[in-house]
Symmetry: C2
Subunit: 291 residues, 2 copies
Amino acid sequence: MFESDKPHIDNSRCDRCAVRDRTVCAVAHLAAENELARVSRTRRVPAGETILAENAEASIVGNVLAGVLRMTKTLPDGREQIVGLINPGEFFGRPYSETVEFAYEAATDVELCVMDRRSFEAVVARNPELEHELLLTTLDDLAFARERMLLLGCQNTLERVATYLLVMLEHREQLFADVALQEHKRVAVSAITRRDLASYLSTTIETISRHIHHLSRIGVIRIIDSSRFEVLAYEMLLALSGLAREDLRLFRKAPLFGRGPRLVALNGIIQSRQTPVLTSVKTRSSRIGHF
Amino acid sequence: MFESDKPHIDNSRCDRCAVRDRTVCAVAHLAAENELARVSRTRRVPAGETILAENAEASIVGNVLAGVLRMTKTLPDGREQIVGLINPGEFFGRPYSETVEFAYEAATDVELCVMDRRSFEAVVARNPELEHELLLTTLDDLAFARERMLLLGCQNTLERVATYLLVMLEHREQLFADVALQEHKRVAVSAITRRDLASYLSTTIETISRHIHHLSRIGVIRIIDSSRFEVLAYEMLLALSGLAREDLRLFRKAPLFGRGPRLVALNGIIQSRQTPVLTSVKTRSSRIGHF
DNA sequence: GCCGCGATTTGATGCGCATCAACTGGAGTG
DNA sequence: CACTCCAGTTGATGCGCATCAAATCGCGGC
């Protein structure tokens, strides 16, 4: 356990991790980082596969490295609702519970960083900064989930489609936060299938198709292909979503962006290979004292 | 700060707290308990009053001692959704954020235990067992929120009403967990107005009225008065809700119930005037050690 | 280049439930 | 005791969207 051989190899895997700065790992102290590396392994899962079945044992947790996971819940008669999508850099699984309340499935081909749940919990118990980070992301997820209740409860299907496009755009804007190329920021990209989108927005593929083409016809968007849409009239789209501008704030899901002074100047782009030395140092020095 | 005068008085207030064993405070070590007592105060708020407005500064957090809070979100055109109800013993507010994403309002006359948010955060930072408990309840809330997405996205209005009755029943059964009187367990009690219920279930008071009377006509429930319903055919109600039996597990919201061995036999009833002496003792001796 | 199959689009129809409106009943008031 | 007033009930109507059905597109395989 305490040999410095295997861990070191694992840690180098983390050094090459594409989403390291966006995951819960980003706040881990050196010791915690090593512990996490020791209990984690990467795993590829093709689209459609189930990672954790509904009500199954909550055996593992982890981070999404690439691709998208869907969390679903199915009624006895077969009706299904996607209750959440999990993007690269985001945490998945159900800590501190024997079973998972929802199914976790690969919505696209995915690459995961997987950990045994109990091992993860043990690492968290020894590293308060991890527990704190987990709490922060869970609180954000909760606010996001409640925002989606508003979507499902109050917004009509056109407003839901408009909102989805705005959210995709928001994600895009964050990815290219410091890139000057404006055209990237105007393109909403949907990584999931139309079927999944329909389930996520609680409507049908036919209705989505109609609304997308309606938005195209009135000049609000341009359909590049079935999964990419250029937004030509942002303000119009916002108006059609029925949302207030400040509500979009909640949709900035990338965990470690825009949340307080922890990562003051995050100049690394997710795909960038630069080692975020300064960022790490800042993170460690600005932590709240636990004991 | 370290004088033992004022704190002692505050602490006695906590000793008389009706919901103490169900709140986050229940896991607090003695030192943390004193710290929480020092920064908290009770406050009564009449039904309809706003405690925290939507997007307002997240100045306070706290626990509900009596009554029900509603969390709402309103669209620019006035459409409103209740995204959560907060019952006695449950935590409210938004830690670790400058603003609240939702409005917190008194759905009934309420009694609150209120704390300055930053003071609360400071106490949590010094007491890891509190942070852990906060994480556990937040994870439960998140699962509950996602379950409600299923309700809003997949279930029709009759199924939503049936589900609500089942949830009320579930709450009741927990309150009277060890009481032999079976009749209490068969009565679903709704503390909120029909208008709030309509918003919570994302439907209208007319539709709720129709379904309630339909359920009464087919003999599934008996209408005692407009807020109390005796469930005559539990299995039928479950079938009409469209849910699987195990889904109800999620609705056991009372934070410290049914989660491990912390509260083995809670025989105190919230509304009862008996002092739950034994309960308090049991709680302290059976609490789990963190760290 | 042709075929076949799934994904998407477009059209026609029906139903669930919101909406509007009228009525009822009980609690509080002068 | 009539009064108002609000919560709840009941009925009539219309609309949004699911559903069913058919056409079209796109793409990999041979």
